[in-house]
Symmetry: C2
Subunit: 327 residues, 2 copies
C-alpha cells in the first residue's frame, strides 16, 4: 500500500476558479494486479482546456483529469519495466495504478530537460505543430498572427512560423512576455493587448494582412484579426480562453469570413497522430539547435496544483505551467 | 440615342435603407460602337449582398451594381446577335451599352420561366449548390439546418438537401414562409424564429444534432446552431444578414468549434465555375420534374428597385426579389 494524494474539484467555479473550489484529498493506493503498473507522478501539466470542463465534464469529488510524466515504480504489465519514464493522462494523482491504456513509454533525449515532454515535445507542442501546419495549412513566408503568443502553445506556434520564414506578430498580456517574444523568440512584432489598443496595433503590425491567425482567445482578438484576414486566410481555432470563464465580448466581425473565403476550423491535440513521428523528429532537432526556445513556470509540490490552475487563468505563468510532484 | 434610367445610391444608409438614400436618374444611351452591344434590361436581381456594399464599395451617384437578364437590341460585337437573351452584371440600368465582358448568352429552356435564370438557375442557385455540396461537403442522409430557409438561396439549399436524403430543418421569419417550406418544399421541421425561442426549438428539431449548418444570418442563429453541431460538422458561411445593417448580437458560442472540430468557411457564388455545367444539368432537371420549387416576388417597374431593396431588408419578400423592367 502506498500513501497518495489527489486534487479534486469540489465546487463548480463561478468565473475564475478560487482555492475553495478544490481540495487535496489523501488516498491509499494498492499493489498492481496482473496487467497493471504503479506509477509515481513526476510532473503534472496545467492547461487552459481544463477550465471549460469544470462547468460540467469534470466530475466533482474525483481526481481532476489531466496529463503528466511519471516513473513506473512497479509493473505486472509486460509492456512496462520498473524505471520506465511514461507520459499519461491519469489525472492529478500523486501515485496511481493503471492498466497501461493511454500510458506511453518515453525515450527522453538526454540532451533535453524531461519537462519538454510536457510542452514543446508534448501535447502543447503537437497542438502547435498540427494546428499551424495541418489545420492552418501554413505556407512558407506567409503573414501570421498568434494570440497568447507567450503561452505554451502560442510560443511554439510563433517560433515554428519563424522557422518557416513567415512574418510573425504575437499578442500577449504582459511586458515581460512581450520582451521575451521580441528579444528571445525573435517575433517581428509583439502587441501587449493590455496596454495597447489591439485593433489599431494589429493593423499597424500587419501591413500585408494576415494569412493565418492562430486563435487562442476569441472575443476582441478574433474581431480584430477578422478585419485583417487576407483572401483564403485560415483561422485554426485552438482555444478561446476569453470565453472559458463565461465572460468576454461577443464576436461581431464574422461577416469578414465571406468575401475573404476565410476558413475557421477547430482542432484538438489528438487530431494529429499521423504527424507524430515527423513532429518528434522536427521538434527534437529544433530544441537541440536552439531554434525553439521555451519558458516554464514550475511550482514545486503536488498540493500546489490548484494554485497553478488559478494562476494560469490570472496570467501569472511565464510559458508552460507545470507542477513538479517528485524528482 | 435611347432614353434610359439608372438607380443611384445618393446617401450611405444608416441601418435599413430608406427611400431617400436612392434616386432614379434619367440618362441617355448612345448607339453601340464597334465591339459593343446595346441591352434592354428585362429582369433585375435584388440581393442581400448589396447591403454591405452601401457602406463603402458602392460608389455614390452611380448606377447600383447588380445582376440581371436582358435582351440584346443592338450589336456590333460578333459574339452577340440581336434578340439574344443575356445575363449580365451591368447594374441597375434600364438600357445600357456593354463591350460584352461579363455578359453571358443564355439558352433558356423553353419549359422554364425566364426568371429562374435569376435565381434557381442563376447566382443564388449556384451559391446554394456550391455552398452546400462543395464548401459544406454534404453527404447523403446528413442532418442539415438552413437559416433564412425561405429566401432565394436558403430555399434551394433546403430542397437540394432533401433530394440528397437529408433531415432538413429550416428557420424563417414568417408563418407564410414556414407553411410554404413545410407543405410545399417538404422540410422535416421549420422554425419561425420570430414567434418561437430559437435555441430550444432548434434543439427539439435536431435530435441527431447538425452536420451542416448553412449560415445566412449570424448572431443568435449562429450561437444556437453552434450548440448543436456534430463532430466534424461544417458551417458554410453564405451570409450574415443580421449584421449587415450594423446591428445584431455578438456571437458567444464559437468555442464549440474546438471540441467539435467544426469548420466554418466563407464563400461566394463566383467560387464555383468548375461546378457550373453539372449545376445547370442537375438544376434544370430538378426544376422540370418539380423536385425544386420556388417562390418569387416580382415588382413591376424599373423605378421600384429601391422599394425592392428596402423590402428585402424588412423581410417583405417571399422567395427571390426581382424587378421586372420590361417583357
Amino acid at each position: 500500500m502506498t500513501a497518495s494524494q489527489e486534487i479534486h474539484l469540489v465546487r463548480r467555479p463561478d468565473g475564475v476558479p478560487r482555492p475553495e473550489d478544490f481540495a487535496v484529498v489523501d488516498t491509499v493506493v494498492g499493489e498492481p494486479a496482473e496487467g497493471e503498473i504503479l506509477v509515481q507522478n513526476l510532473l503534472m501539466s496545467v492547461d487552459p482546456y481544463m477550465r471549460p470542463r469544470f462547468n460540467g465534464d469534470q466530475a466533482l469529488n474525483e481526481a481532476l483529469i489531466g496529463g503528466g510524466v511519471g516513473r513506473v515504480i512497479g509493473s505486472r504489465n509486460p509492456k512496462f519495466a520498473e524505471g520506465d519514464i511514461v507520459r499519461h493522462g491519469a489525472g492529478m494523482r500523486e501515485v496511481f495504478l493503471s492498466d497501461g491504456r493511454g500510458v506511453q513509454v518515453l525515450n527522453p533525449d538526454p540532451a533535453l530537460s524531461l519537462s519538454v515532454y510536457m510542452h514543446a515535445l508534448g501535447g502543447t507542442g503537437i497542438t502547435a505543430y498540427g494546428g499551424l501546419l495541418e489545420t492552418g495549412k501554413l505556407k512558407d513566408g506567409e503573414q501570421v498572427f498568434v494570440s497568447t503568443a507567450g503561452g505554451a502553445v502560442g510560443s511554439v506556434v510563433a517560433q515554428i512560423a519563424k522557422i518557416k520564414g513567415c512574418h510573425v506578430v504575437g499578442s500577449t498580456g504582459s511586458d515581460d512576455k512581450a520582451a521575451w517574444l521580441r528579444d528571445v523568440a525573435g517575433l517581428d512584432a509583439v502587441i501587449n493587448y493590455k496596454t495597447e489598443a489591439l485593433a489599431p496595433a494589429l493593423k499597424a503590425a500587419t501591413p500585408k494582412g494576415i494569412d493565418v491567425y492562430f486563435e487562442n482567445v476569441g472575443g476582441a482578438h478574433l474581431d480584430a484579426a477578422l478585419t485583417r484576414m487576407n483572401v483564403h486566410g485560415r483561422i485554426p481555432v485552438c482555444g478561446m480562453i476569453s470565453t472559458y470563464n463565461g465572460g468576454g465580448e461577443g464576436v461581431r466581425n464574422l461577416f469578414a469570413l465571406i468575401y475573404g473565403r476565410v476558413t475557421m476550423q477547430g482542432f484538438v491535440a489528438s487530431d494529429f497522430p499521423h504527424l507524430n513521428a515527423q513532429f518528434v523528429a522536427d521538434m527534437t532537432g529544433w530544441l537541440k539547435d536552439g531554434r525553439i526556445k521555451y519558458q516554464e513556470t514550475i511550482l514545486d509540490g503536488f498540493e500546489r496544483a490548484p494554485e497553478g490552475l488559478i494562476g494560469l487563468f490570472e496570467g501569472r505563468n511565464a510559458g508552460k505551467m507545470i507542477i513538479r510532484v517528485a524528482q
